[in-house]
């Protein structure tokens, strides 16, 4: 990338510029969800809020974990822990593509120099029972974002439709900053007194987690946790909608969904440990999808999910 005054100098500056940009476009800037997830889509601000009729506009960074992608910090592009930037707007605005391109300019992509393309890519999440149509966005032949119009989530048709943008932050930032190995990427401003690279912060943790994910995580404990999370999710959802203590109608969609996320992450860990066979794999994915679907069913029974007191009649 050519170095113009407008070019960001660090990973965090790119994140900050995205935050500022999407805030200026009216998004609520949320914080990362405080649980382990495989992608920004799992944040309830996307999965659950894309359901029902209530308007929504949110943007956030989501640390994401994919245990099988761990490479002990040695692969220039692969990490078991990385960051996604996620934007979800419902209903999808008519100028979402322009808004998106604006965000690229905001982080220093000069449209007069680069080749930006929207290449067909349909998105599907078997674990969330979700799919949508859209594109992967290419910048000079590199995929920099995923752009999706959600059609179905948790088995529910999306009405209205949400527009979802997902930026793979490390890859995008490496390109903008002209870095070849993720660990060499400046995390904060390289001109400051204590400059830190991505590697300063994450090289060691990538090693530690890669070892744990692949070799030492206790699979018996994980298998038990999976069962427990699944059971807790179902139990939470089967509770009566009316809370006997407060007398209020409280459908516990979010606590149940936390258990679903937990089950999903544990499944990913078990997968990395290599204890799940090909046939079992499908069965586990089906179990998580079943939880996600039930959580979606519960969410549309809440006010945020569009439920109205009249609906009870």
């Amino acid at each position: 990338m050519s170095d113009t005054p407008d070019t960001p100098r660090s990973f965090q500056e790119i994140i900050l510029r995205l935050q500022t940009y999407w805030a200026s476009k009216g998004c609520a800037i949320l914080q990362p969800y405080d649980m382990e997830v495989g992608a920004g889509t799992f944040h309830p601000a996307t999965t659950l809020r894309s359901l029902g009729t209530q308007p929504w506009a949110a943007a956030y960074v989501q640390p994401s974990r994919r245990p099988t992608d761990g490479r002990y910090g040695e692969n220039p592009n692969r990490l078991q822990h990385y960051y996604q930037y996620q934007v979800l707007i419902k209903p999808s605005p008519p100028d979402l593509q322009e808004l998106y391109l604006g965000s690229l300019e905001a982080i220093g992509v000069d449209m007069a120099l680069h080749d930006i393309r929207f290449v067909e890519d349909d998105w599907e999440s078997p674990t969330l029972g979700a799919w949508g149509l859209g594109w992967e966005v290419w910048c000079d032949g590199m995929e920099v974002s995923q752009f999706t119009y959600f059609q179905q989530v948790g088995g529910h048709d999306c009405h209205p439709v949400s527009g979802e943008l997902t930026y793979g932050l490390e890859r995008l930032a490496m390109y903008i900053l002209g870095v070849d190995h993720v660990m060499d990427m400046p995390f904060n401003d390289p001109q400051t007194a204590i400059p830190l690279t991505y590697g300063d912060i994450f090289k060691q943790t990538e090693e530690e987690y890669a070892r744990w994910n692949f070799d030492t995580a206790n699979t018996d404990v994980l298998l038990r946790h999976f069962e427990e999370a699944e059971a807790e999710c179902k139990a939470t959802l089967s509770a009566a909608h009316d809370d006997p203590k407060t007398g209020k109608r409280i459908v516990m969609a979010h606590p149940a969904y936390d258990q679903c996320i937990k089950a999903s992450h544990i499944f990913n860990l078990l997968d990395a440990r290599g204890v799940i066979s090909v046939t079992e794999r499908q069965a586990y994915i089906g179990r998580v999808r079943n939880l996600a679907k039930q959580c979606a069913d519960a969410f549309v029974q809440t006010r945020a999910g569009g439920w109205q007191p009249e609906d009870a009649a």
Binding site: M1, S2, P76, N77, P91, S92, P93, P94, Q97, M111, A112, L113, H114, D115, I116, R117, F118, V119, E120, D122, G132, L133, G134, W135, C139, D140, G141, M142, Y149, Q151, C158, H159, P160, V161, G163, Y175, D180, V278
Partner: protein, 766 residues
């Protein structure tokens, strides 16, 4: 007469859908217009990533007025009848005419439909088209209920003539039509209004949009080949990629980039596939060495630095991709050189189909079949078997996991690297062939054996579990497999009764089933093998049962058979275990075997393209050994050639006449005239001449048929035309003299027998 211009402007349409969408738009709109009475002179459709455009020229300004006259009941008919008539016509009593007819006064309704202005019709047709557009996949967006391939942003719809242009008002879920569009997303995003198609196309060109996908493809190809040529290189042709890339850009800008030196030694196919699949790059080859040395990428815009940034970015992405490919290649080579059985063992855990076992099970069957077929195709059985065992080993390699389309080819590289026989390596690559009607057919004997075994196993397997193609559904590509077998057999001139191999294919499925289910213990299995050894016809019966009733029934059937000693016959006979009734293999005909019928159907399609009529094929299918496809086709081709001659065509008429007279007489008399005619009862010279001619023909046809020389046999048969015609002209078959009549009928029988020994001429049309 006005011209119509429609543009449906949207977010990026997937490249693979654009061409079809343009055609659908043209078809749906023009059909709708014509149905409503609006005819036109010409129409054309165009597509870019962001727009579908239709221009219709010489359209009627309004639909013609139509007039329909309906006859009703008599004027004095009951009130109910008249009311019904009026309701049907939508008229009142004073709006219908009363006319005098010979039957009295009758009511007539004249329904006149005035013509409608073109704009009104267009609006309706366009709305219906948009709402019911046949996208392979469509979506909703925002709060709208409308579906389109991606969000539809605007509609341009104008009618223009010498006087000017007018917007055709259309409103589809809040998207209202206008006379404006936009140019290139980045280079000319401003809105602009247009007055006609010519104006539209010209303004788009100025706004960096090439409307015609054909023109974009041409520009890309010309620029790419020129650029490569200037460096002494050539672009690897790829029509599919060219069409796709032309659908990804509105303003193609061709750039040529370098491939890192580290990667130039990868197999060219790997470079090509990686660049094409991941980056949609064309490969640029050095014609002297055949190596891929550069790539061509097509950008969607001109940039201030003439594409330098774009190219640098693309080169960087490619390096990361090729680093992966190189990693796979080097790892795979290590395994191949060390011990490939790691790969074949891994296939035990890969399910081929849940009812047909793992890939490893399948390879076992294919290896056995390839060994059996080897002598037929002139291959060494040991080599054919080893080739079959290794042919699919590369499915376990990292490269094929990443690029499934390289299966077979990688196998060839890896087997060669392992130091195996070239024929084995070639077998891995070629055993998937032919993949389509235009794909080359392998000719190397080992490759042919493995290719046949692979396809026959697939066919018998899916037949055995009753997963046959139906209608347009053929998920396991069985039609392709059958056509592959046909082409392998015919183009290599393999004369072999296919069914013997089909049956052993079926048997290994059955065998495997028995083992898998553990339903038959060792002695039962031994019994089954004994039954099948002693009574090969049982194998046919079981094969049929497998096909018609499924494995379970066939296995049950096999279990239900036992041997008992038959006192009278003095030998063991097969009986049903429960009823102890003797079992007689049914005298089924091959036509009942629907797998063979399936082959024959495919063969008809294949030969139809070569100009051989279906009835000719039927006439040959009805003959013995019809599972020897080479023989069958030789016969069909000879018959087809014979029928093209004057003698041949007339002979068929003579044969049919003889056959008809004979059949009628046989039916009437209740006997079969096949006792041989005697020349001494011949009364007419023409009759005597026919005897002589038949003797001569027989003397030629019998040895020719034995030698499968159909051309000689059929020309000898065609030579009978003159004597047969002369015979019919000269004599009356049904004379009063019964001896003479019988003799003549027996003579006709000789004609029939002789002709039918060549092909079943009764199946011929006309």
């Amino acid at each position: 007469m006005p011209d119509l211009l429609i543009e449906l402007f949207s977010e990026e349409i997937p490249a693979r859908m654009q061409k079809r969408a343009g055609e659908d738009l043209q078809k749906l709109v023009t059909n709708g217009l014509v149905e409503a009475g609006l005819t036109y002179a010409s129409a054309a459709a165009f597509s870019t990533p962001r727009r579908l455009t239709l221009t219709v020229e010489g359209l009627l300004a309004q639909s013609p007025t139509t007039r329909e006259e309906r006859k009703g009941p008599k004027a004095d008919a009951p009130e109910k009848a008249i009311e019904g008539f009026l309701r049907g016509a939508g008229l009142t009593r004073d709006q219908v005419q009363e006319r005098e007819t010979p039957k009295g006064n009758v009511l007539f309704a004249v329904i006149e439909k005035p013509g409608r202005p073109a704009a009104e019709i267009i609006a309706e047709v366009l709305e219906a088209t948009v709402r019911h557009f046949p996208w392979p996949k469509s979506m909703r967006w925002g709060s709208s209920a409308l579906k389109w391939v991606r969000p539809l942003q605007s509609i341009l719809c104008i009618l223009s003539d010498e006087a000017g242009h007018a917007v055709v008002p259309v409103d589809i879920d809040g998207i209202t039509s206008g006379d404006t569009t936009r140019g290139h997303r980045f280079m000319a995003p401003a809105q602009m209004s247009v007055t006609s198609f010519a104006d539209y196309e010209a303004k788009l060109a100025r706004a960096h949009v090439v409307l015609d996908p054909g023109a974009r493809a041409e520009t890309i190809w010309n620029d790419a080949t020129n650029m490569a040529f200037a460096s002494g290189l050539e672009v690897v042709e790829d029509a599919g990629l060219l069409a796709e890339v032309a659908g990804l850009v509105e303003w193609p800008v061709v750039l040529m980039g370098k491939i890192g030196d580290d990667f130039l030694d990868l197999p060219p196919e790997v470079l090509q596939t990686s660049m094409k699949e991941h980056q949609k790059f064309f490969s640029v080859r050095n014609p002297k060495t055949g190596r891929i040395e550069r790539f061509i990428t097509v950008a969607n815009c001109e940039t201030a630095d003439n594409g330098a940034t774009i190219l640098a970015g693309n080169e960087k992405v490619l390096s990361a991709r090729l680093a992966d490919a190189k990693f796979f290649w080097e790892n795979d080579l290590r395994v191949a050189k060390d011990d490939m059985s790691v790969w074949t063992q891994a296939l035990e855990n890969v399910t081929f189909h849940n009812k047909l076992g793992s890939q490893a099970d399948r390879i076992e069957r294919i290896a056995a079949l390839a060994r059996e077929l080897a002598p037929v195709v002139g291959a060494d059985p040991d080599i054919a078997e080893e080739a079959a065992r290794l042919a699919k080993a590369d499915l376990s390699s990292e490269m094929v996991y990443e690029f499934p389309e390289l299966q077979g080819l990688m196998g060839r590289y890896y087997i060669t690297a392992a130091g195996k026989d070239d024929a084995i390596a070639a077998g891995a690559q070629e055993h998937y062939s032919p993949l389509g009607p235009s794909d080359d057919v392998p000719t190397a004997p080992v490759s042919v054996a493995v290719a046949l075994a692979d396809k026959l196993d697939t066919l018998t397997g899916f037949w055995a579990i009753d997963e046959k193609p139906t209608g347009s559904k053929d998920p396991f590509a069985l039609r392709r497999a059958a056509l592959g077998v046909i082409r392998l057999v015919l183009e290599n001139e393999i004369s072999h009764t296919l069914f013997s191999s089909l049956n052993s294919g079926v048997m290994s499925h059955l065998d495997q089933k028995i083992e898998i289910e553990g339903q038959i213990r060792a002695e039962k299995r031994a019994n089954a093998i004994r039954i099948l050894d002693l009574h090969p016809s049982m194998e046919r019966t079981l094969a049929r049962m497998l096909k018609t009733s499924g494995e379970k029934k066939a296995v049950e059937h096999l279990e239900s058979i036992k041997f008992i000693w038959d006192e009278e016959a003095g030998e063991e006979v097969l009986v049903d275990a429960v009823s102890e009734e003797p079992l007689f293999p049914p005298a089924e005909t091959l036509e009942e075997d629907d797998l063979l019928a399936f082959f024959h159907d495919r063969l008809k399609v294949y030969l139809r393209d070569q100009g051989i009529r279906h009835d000719i094929i039927d006439a040959c299918i009805a003959m013995p050994n019809n599972d020897d496809l080479t023989l069958l086709v030789k016969r069909a081709k000879a018959l087809s050639e014979t029928l093209k001659t004057d003698d041949g065509e007339n002979l068929i008429q003579g044969f049919k006449r003889a056959n008809n007279i004979l059949s009628q007489a046989e039916e009437a008399d209740g006997v079969e005239y096949s006792y041989g005619a005697d020349p001494k009862f011949a009364q007419d010279p023409a009759e005597t001449a026919l005897f002589t001619a038949l003797d001569q023909a027989e003397a030629q046809i019998t040895p020719a048929m034995a030698a499968q020389d159909f051309t000689t046999a059929m020309s000898a048969m065609a030579a009978l035309r003159t004597p047969i015609d002369a015979f019919f002209d000269a004599v009356q078959i049904n004379t009063d003299n019964q001896t003479v009549r019988r003799n003549r009928l027996n003579l006709l029988s000789r004609i029939r027998t002789l002709c039918l020994s060549v092909a079943d001429l009764t199946k011929l049309d006309g």
